[in-house]
Amino acid sequence: MIKTFFDWLKKPMGLIAVGITFLTLFSVAAFGLYQTQQPPAQPIEFPHKTHIAFGIQCLYCHPGASKGPSAGIPTQEKCWACHNQIQKTQTSALLAPLKDAVISGTPIEWVPVAIVPDFVQFNHRAHIAAGRNCEECHGDMSQVNIAENPQVMNMGWCLTCHVEAAGDDQEKLIKLSDCGTCHY
């Protein structure tokens, strides 16, 4: 039975079948891979570009970036401080979820997109202190609505920048490329 099957595989029809199977597997894998790189759905279609156009600094909503490991997601209290003074908040369908969340006192379930695995100890503060700008890693947020992640945040990407930053300073290079800098 198996032998008959393998004999059939060697015939043109069989070869085509193998080809189709292989292509199917490949395209499913490719599609899966593509899916993983898409920004996730957010509870509110938050327009970053609108807020930046008003001249609001990144650190106004994400102040943790200059203070500690996590930049943080703003509290509803912070959103509402401005939005309850804006007429459009009362009428806009886009802003209805915010209004509902504040009135009912339920937290908005955001999905952070710029994330690293649990075994990486990333700290924003050190990067801000070293003079890096937010857009160097997070892209130009004045061009996007909901947050996208323009980089594949993997180790190669981190190290490329770390090595560049060290330049010719051997001591700095050792510090910046040490495993324990990020994995501890």
Partner: protein, 717 residues
Amino acid sequence: MSQQFSRRDFLKLAGLGAATTAVLTGCGPASRYVKREPYMEMPEYTATGQSTYYATTCRECAAGCGLVVRTYQGRAIKTEGNANHPLNLGKTCARGQATLHGLYNPDRVQEPSTGDWDAAVQVVADALKNNKPEEVAFLMGMAPDHLFDLISDLANATGMNAPVRFGALGMFEARATLSKAAENLFGQAGLPHFDIGGAQVVLSFGANFLETWLSPVSYTRGFVGLREAQTKQRGTLVQFEARMSATGGKADEWVPLRTGTEALVALSIGKLAAEMMGVAAPRAFAGVSVQDAASKSGIKVETLEHIAKMFISQKALAIPGGAALGQSNGLEVAEAVLALNALVDNLGKSGGVYLSALAPAQSEYHRPASAQEMQDFVQKMADGKFKVLFIHGVNPMFELPKTIDFKGALSGVEQVISFATFPDETAAEADHVFPDHHGLESWGYQRVATGTAQPVLSGAQPVVSPFYNTRSTADVLIAAAQIAGGSFAQALPYADEVEFLQTKVAALMSEANGSFSAMDEVGFMASFQQYGGWWRNVDGRGIPSAAGALNRDINAGDAEFAGEGEFFFVPFVSPTLAEAGANKPWLQELPDPTTTVMWNTWLEMNPETAHELHIENDDVVRVVSEAGAVELPVYVYPAIRPDTVAMPFGQGHTAYGQYAEGRGVNPADLLGQHFNGAGDLAFAGMKVKIEKTGKKQQLSRLESLMGVYGEGMEAEH
């Protein structure tokens, strides 16, 4: 190409494709996306992504260890010991770690049985106001905490019954016996403190100080000091007990004496030691016959001589505890063992026996009730002496021997009000349940009764906001007293629990030698919370008087055993669960240190005995005592005397939530009402019968079912 494409290649390629797909998709960020709920209003002391740490006190047992709890975005994440705290110096036991499983337990009582708290406070106020003061009783857990002080103040001012404290741990530790023996020998009641770390040779008569005994974290640290061999010679531990406990497992010598002969053995060692020292045997030891003791206990005279020699050759310490004191002659056991210390003159010396330091602002040791006192209390309940019973922090339906019949006595009480955090057996029988916060959500302080040289008042503060509609019992009582008016309102003139705490704690500001000082009350309270308590930087331990210790008769007598059976019965507190850990899955999943059994109760039986009775591992047997019978699987345990069977206490709940309920059996169902000279329960003074049932129930255990001792191998081949 198709010619070379074999089946193997096809499978390889297909497998590779599947693996690649899995890996590539699994490594993508989408696999890690999680929802984040930001604060609606961020507390000002919180920084995103940074943990906040709070010092508080562990409430899992009455020892009073200091904790530092890591919280993240308003959730408690991890408990660790408070490195500053003199009792535990940064360490915790497994129960301390598992306190989070109490906080997040899905079975917690989430609201008062009246639905809202105004009605609940009114119920409590009516109960206080509408009954005569002597008809109101409070039953509390063992911890000498702020709530005990608050209720004591209320009772003193109004003539109500003084609050009674009780816990199964205190019953199995025989605290009343230790205190009484100290009073008889040293002229002062109180818990003795044993400086294990400073000794070179430790004889422990049943004291399971590495498990649950008195203050296990502190005594474990003492044991580390005993074993420490960098700066001194490694110390030796000799454990006398019929069934090897986890502490016995750590001992250099384990002496399996017959249950009930501990006093004889201790006196014999005293007599032999005195002879070796070249002094006449003191009156305490003179009356004993070494030959007689050897034959009754099943220990060779040579062994006794060898231990006596070791005892006098180096800095030695003898500790009484556990099942050795839970005998009809338990008080004499404690006296005999404490007298050994007087013989080698270690009283009040490094490596010896002290009287525990009293906590700051404490004038005498507040002993929890003994089992006999509880029997009286329950009798009063049954006789209708109490119209109202308030219960907090204890589960007497589970912890008291069934024969004391707490359940039956409840019918003699008109109104039972429970403040239980969890739906335990007692709460199920109560008329009202007004749930207290979990320990990690509560304010408070607790006196450290024993375990450290310094007088310590351990502080507690909420590390998270309460999750449910619960309320602090102190707040409920303060509010109810205000409504009840009169002397009740005068006794508790506080706005809330925090004001009460401040009033009590601020009194320490003027005390000398404090661990910190402050100029004003607010600063003092802030430091009290920050450091996790206040302690005096002095050795506050008492020095026992040796005057009357040896010049007295100690009549060991023969221990009496209740029941018909042929086996001595040794119940012991589960080292992992203790009395209230069964509702915490981490503790259930933690293997017992000696048997590695999890999630169940077992009966320990010697392989010889099992062989004679044709019983194998996991055979279910019926254990019959004079008080009752239970059925449970056997664990064949080589480290137990053939004439003894043992059973852990901690399981066998009929309520207490999904993880505890209907699991294992409760040895308290087998215990009768026999007491020793100090009123503690003679829990190990029983004999039981073993009956086969023909059933089998496989125990889940970590060790191989083949057995670490090769037992069961034959059947396999």
